[in-house]
Amino acid sequence: MKKALLIMKAEIAKQKQHDYHSYFVYFSLLIWPVLGFLEVYYTYKPFEFSKYMGISGNKGLLAFLGTGFMAYTCFWSMVQNAWSMAGQERKGGTLEITFLSPANRLAMCWGRALGALIQEVWMFGCFCIFILIYTGAVRWSNLALLPVLLVLLIVSSAIWGGMLNALFLFSRDTSIIMDLFDMPMTLFSGTRVPVDSFPHWAKVVSMAFPLTYCINIIRFALDIQKSGRGWQAELLGLLVCLGVMVSLTVFVIDRVERHNRETGELQFY
């Protein structure tokens, strides 16, 4: 356990040295989510809120999109980090070396995803201030919940990022994984559109993404989304989802390593 934590810490430190080389990086962390958030907000502009549709009015929309965007950015940053790191290590020739080391593979995968930790905490802080000022969704009564939500987000996004990172070990042709998992996630997880308004097949798809449950729990805790299954059911769904992911990660890493021992390669085609 202690060793695993050390590995994760080392991975985070490595990525910090690698990525945060100038002030522009910090600047971009602030500016991208804000711009993306504004874009989605304006996409809603051509419509009129005549009645309740899972979102009530303009203020509700801001709170809805704010939570959705924050949670999504946390997941996205983990994936992005895992992705760019996998690519860099592959190109730089250090990916093979990490497989020679005795380090725990699972810890390595999660550590790579957790490189985005600083970014997540930063995002979460910014978002809370925003919500506090504009919508009043954060009150004294749920202030204590915020750290719990942060931990929830970090753990589930790290597991998600770790799973994708394990998949990245399969091939250098990885942007396809990014596209197949990341793009549908934005659509189906309820980041931008309430899941309730989806057709049935889309609701089923949305259950495959841990982000869906995270967002629902966050919105429930902050009183933004009234309808839904309640937080106990969501939490249970999240746990099942994360369990499946962890086992998939273990399975994939095992396959990759066996393949690597036989052929000396880290790609399947």
Partner: protein
Amino acid sequence: MGIIFSTYRKNRIGIRRAVPWSFMVSRVVTGATQIIFPYVICFHLMKGEISDEFSQYTNGADYMTYIVLGSALNVLAVSTLMNVGRALITELREGTLEMLLLSPAPRREYFIGCLLEQTTRAMLEFGTVILLGAVFGADLRALVSLRALAVILLAVCSFFCMGLTLSSVMLYTRDTYITQNTLFITMSLICGIAYPIQYLPGWVQMAAQVFPLTPAVSLFRNVVIQNQTLMENHLLILQAVVLSAVYLLTGALWNQRLERRMMESIFG
């Protein structure tokens, strides 16, 4: 001419051998998601309740048609800028820039080769957006015309010119990640892709005029939705042409200076 096609072949072979899956599937998936999000908002969430403001800003355009045309052009812009802009820095990172600089091939034809290879791929994505849009009920009959084709060509040309400047910026800053993401997010926010730019504050609308995508997208919509002729839109065309000329000149001159300096700084 030979250089154009050899660059084309070189790039295409590289992509097909190294990333064959991303090559096809990524394009189609990204194209599809561009359309599905506004579609879900429009028909599942809002049940098609468009505000009067929207029709007023767009001369009564149909929402889906409006969105599909915007996304289709945005897809072209992003992939052209991305590929032309990143061409030289990718060579630098892969260690082949030195060979390129030593060879007698002029950079102009090299870039056109990149553009050609890239555009044939981007058409896949463009086609997905258009096809899916048509399935979702966009009225795209006017797209099959010489006028629309001319607009697309003009648009790709102007994106190419901007890509040259972008290439210099990337080479100068040695960065692709921050530059490209900031640029693309900004462009899709302020150029009027998913909504009319009149919703944005005045100074942002002014700033949007710097990007060739803004005139290109409104020109494209005027031609396809309103069935206007090119002559009626001469101001938009003029704007796109002037912007292209400025970007082309900036990019060409800057690239030249950078290359001279690079010979000393990188390989010295």
